[in-house]
Amino acid sequence: MNVLEVSELRKHYPIRAGLLRREVGRVRAVDGVSFHIAAGETLALVGESGCGKTTVSRCILRALRATSGEIRFAPEDGRVVELVGLPKRQLRPLRRHMQMIFQDPYSSLNPRMMVGDIIAEPLKVNGVPAAERQARVLELLDLVQMPASARSRFPHAFSGGQRQRIGIARALALQPRLVVADEPVSALDVSVQAQIINLLLDLQDRLRLSMLFVAHDLGVVRHVSDRVAVMYVGRIVEVAPTATLYRTPRHPYTEALLAAVPAPDPARRGRQLAVLGEVADPANPPPGCAFHPRCPYAVERCRIERPELTEVTPGRWTSCHRARELELAGVG
């Protein structure tokens, strides 16, 4: 049972020039992305900056309007709604079923509202009566391990980690089916980050949340996700269950990403490898496989023909012409 199915999602930004603002090109921020999230599952969307992972998440939440493609969302069992073409009016009642956890714990809370009001806002705008709201706010504060006294304070009284807990409480207020977490721990100190990761894991177990976890930190992703989708220049290059992907990557880019992470272990020193070159420009991606200019395994075919995302073994999809023949190094 899938909570979310995304197929062939595209988000293009026209590049306009001249007096008549004619379209001279397109930035293909997201260029044909397909994946699904099962009930109670966490899918991590990883990649480097500019790969389109944040754009995908914003399109799903309809904070951005996709150029084309389909997003099928199941707000409750047995009901599926297509989001891309949905009129705004029909979208609003659906909002409560998918919520977002933001990256920046400072800008995501309105500094002029008390914490209690911030958490209660989704309840209020969705017509939950005041008495019920009070009880629910206390329940939510407890859920994210914050004292009840936090209600009557303003966000400026809290540290980054505490603010992130408040943000999580707000996201969970309406008991959403799907939570999109956009780099929820990357702005936090290591010791606080660990607390929030554990909290997210606990909450997910308790509430059976489905989560799209957008992140760039492969260490964090390994802890929280069930499956991982790796993006490069607007496309997904590999999807696989977390442990499988880390141990035996099948796409050279995944291998490069994993090799680039410095391990917190001096004994493994020097194993860190640097791929050459720079991330391709999404306005002008290379022909064929977008990764080929940086790929040590590239062959002639990679320069001409764009590989499709195909299932190489059950449950793992890779878009590499040589996925079946290459022996790539993973970690752990």
């Binding site: 480097e48 900056s49 540290s159 980054g160 980690g161 505490q162 100190d189 290591v190 010791s191 606080v192 980050q193 660990a194 607390q195 990761i197 554990n198 894991l201 760039h216 930190d217 492969l218 260490g219 964090v220 390994r222 802890h223 929280v224 069930d226 977390t242 442990a243 880390y246 490069a256 990403l257 994993l258 090799a259 680039a260 992470v261 410095p262 391990a263 917190p264 272990d265 001096p266 004994a267 493994r268 020193r269 860190q272 490898l273 640097a274 791929v275 720079e278 991330v279 970690v331 752990g332």
Partner: protein, 337 residues
Amino acid sequence: MRPTPMAEPIALAVRDLAVRFEMEQGNVHALEGVSFDLRAGRTLGIVGESGCGKSVTARSILRIIDRPGRITGGRILLDPGTPQEVDLAALDPESARMRAVRGGRVGLIFQEPMTALSVHYTVGNQIIEAVRQHSDISKAEARNRAIELLREVGIPRPETRIDAYPFELSGGLRQRVGIAMALAGDPDILIADEPTTALDVTTQAQILALLRRLQAEKRIALMLITHDMGVIAEMTDEVAVMYLGRVVEYAPVAALFAAPRHPYTRALLRAVPSVLAAPRQRLATIGGAVPHPGARPAGCAFHPRCAEVIPGRCTAEMPPAIPPGIAGASCFLDVPA
């Protein structure tokens, strides 16, 4: 293998450095009793969470602390024990001598290279200016030197890139330009303040490799400030772990990871998410958050979050600072080796 640390001369010695910010809310002791050595050809890692004072340390060495902060004690000795010994802490920050040190003997690499680069001038203009500030050469020569520097930091086609504006470059290339700027005065000490934090992981790997290569080639004493234990493990020889303005542990990198001696180091290492983790594996956490330096707890500053706190002692008494150059932890539980 690398030579033993003691064989290398000390390029810069920091002794009992104290920095205070005098603010309306009260005085904030940003640094207290910080001591360490930077040795030629070696890398000292400084690691800690926000507010631990790692950036203030870097800025005090270069005498560029933002107001209202000022050095209230300690010494920063350049070439200690030699006839050229200078105490940077005693110099006027605006003096000619200090300006010669800043960007000359000591180079600084910023987290965000755009803080060091102006958007209004080409990359070349800025490097040429930096080169000419520290050596008396003609403009044409300086331009050649700038191209050479850009090549040295691995910028492809430096002859054309020299005329690019910073915003025309990607984050990785900008950081390379930032490093080239830091190298313009031909420094023998480099301070890198979170040089890869703003970069993607593949770019980070490239920049770290570059720093490693430059250091080996030029026998630079590198001070690498980071919050990332992976970068520490990958890059450094010795490590100073900082917490709320004090060095709480100092150790060779292998020893630090194999047998951390301060409870904070132990907890920090356990809290780092790992690419080797099991699926849905919980992390060990440190309770609470780092207190603001203005509200530093009495006794050992870490005691409210410490799992091994000795009631009555850690809460009242400050554990002794670690003597410079010796591995150890500033903790009552630490038994000197």
